[in-house]
Symmetry: C2
Amino acid sequence: MSAEIGIPPHLRITDGKNFRLSSIDTHDKLGREKLTSRTRIRDCVDRMAVLQGRLAAYASNGILVVLQGMDAAGKDGAVRHAFSGLNPAGVRVTSFKAPGPVEKRHDDLWRIHVAMPSRGEIGIFNRSHYEDVLIERVHPDMVRARGLDPDAPGFWENRLEDLRNFETYLTRQNILVVKLFLHISPQKQRKRLLKRLDQPEKRWKFDPSDLAERQLWPAYTQAYEEAIRATATPEAPWYIIPADRKWLTRVMVAEALLATLESLHLKEPSADFSPALKAAQEALLKDGHN
Amino acid sequence: MSAEIGIPPHLRITDGKNFRLSSIDTHDKLGREKLTSRTRIRDCVDRMAVLQGRLAAYASNGILVVLQGMDAAGKDGAVRHAFSGLNPAGVRVTSFKAPGPVEKRHDDLWRIHVAMPSRGEIGIFNRSHYEDVLIERVHPDMVRARGLDPDAPGFWENRLEDLRNFETYLTRQNILVVKLFLHISPQKQRKRLLKRLDQPEKRWKFDPSDLAERQLWPAYTQAYEEAIRATATPEAPWYIIPADRKWLTRVMVAEALLATLESLHLKEPSADFSPALKAAQEALLKDGHN
């Protein structure tokens, strides 16, 4: 494969110390061209489909892809464009909404763990366990309503440590964790939200309460930065994906999963037969029902 | 309550460093008498039932009771005797057997987390996440069959660290974790296994493969010791319960859950009415349908 493909190293965060979102341009094209982006996604998906077959056959590893980003950052579109073409038998997409009454009674990671891919599977989380350290951090009254004190010393550090430990555990269990932050500018979000209102086909996605969250942009940016700083590790890196251009986002999401699959070095199964399979083949060939 | 009840402090392990099972007598009566043990269990259960009602009403905490012990240590009997009388709507007992094909594909803690009690509930695990660091440790070929290397540096330390982190996380989420090791002698196990064979009503519990595990007693003892050393913490202690006398085991298991419930200081709900409830009461009293 040529050298220009893949995700540029500066977008792969494996040590979050001092990380700042403002250091990454939301509008960057990363040297790609829109014209060839569809072809590149198709090539990625074709290769992913081959490797996905081996992932399922060996069943020694699973992959969890976490998609996070502000409203209208392009999460749904990235799933549709970058992963259509994979065998849905081995892909499970879970879109996490606000927790319902049963989920609220359980510990935060309960619904997350229930949805976790097994070895051999690819799991895609559209929003994830990170929502708890974003929304509740920006709205500390939600924490108080649960009888907890968000101002207690170490409260957020502990919650982030729990997420980091959880991902370390998953990695040790051969579940690879890939986290993608779709990095959009507030200007671009405004344009996309206005467009949603203009298009009857997309209007259902518009929720007036999104505007209140939009006003909290700096607080969300800070919460994201602290989450990424605390949980970007070599075994569970964060990828920061410029998201002002939908086509680029989709290519990069496809590149990220492809790179993860390639990192497993899933070898092509041997063409050689075991003696048992050889005997089975001979038995079938001699079978009366031909 | 009188001073003699409760679990003696030396059986509550909150710092596992240098812990040895041989320091605790399996045959100890702990100053209790068999004659009064049934009454004491009943008293414990009555008090637990009251506190369980409040636990469900407040729903701010959940409780997980982990029962571990060699075969015939009395786990099933402890559940039946120490917890019958609680409201089953708020108690969930999960007996973990050897993992099936779906469970094996998932990470080790997946089936454990799925069964976790929510806030307001009491969960009893008859065997638990600890089985993985016991059976597989004694039978390292099971690890190799999963494509992992049990001799890799830090392999068991990492698995135990994952369990410790998991329990720390649960505690932070207001799920209290209480771990009970039913400590039986090999002599007493022999007697109980022979008795199982003699009694047609109990014979179904006898599995000839248990005898092979019995031969591995020293290896299991060591695996238990290392597990307890690595995971006994102030927030998720291990209780070592002498288990050569069934009646004592059952009292102690009841005492352990009662002590945990008491530690939550679940106050009796106030007798005072809120204005809204007062108004509701008056409306009902004036209601035409009387």
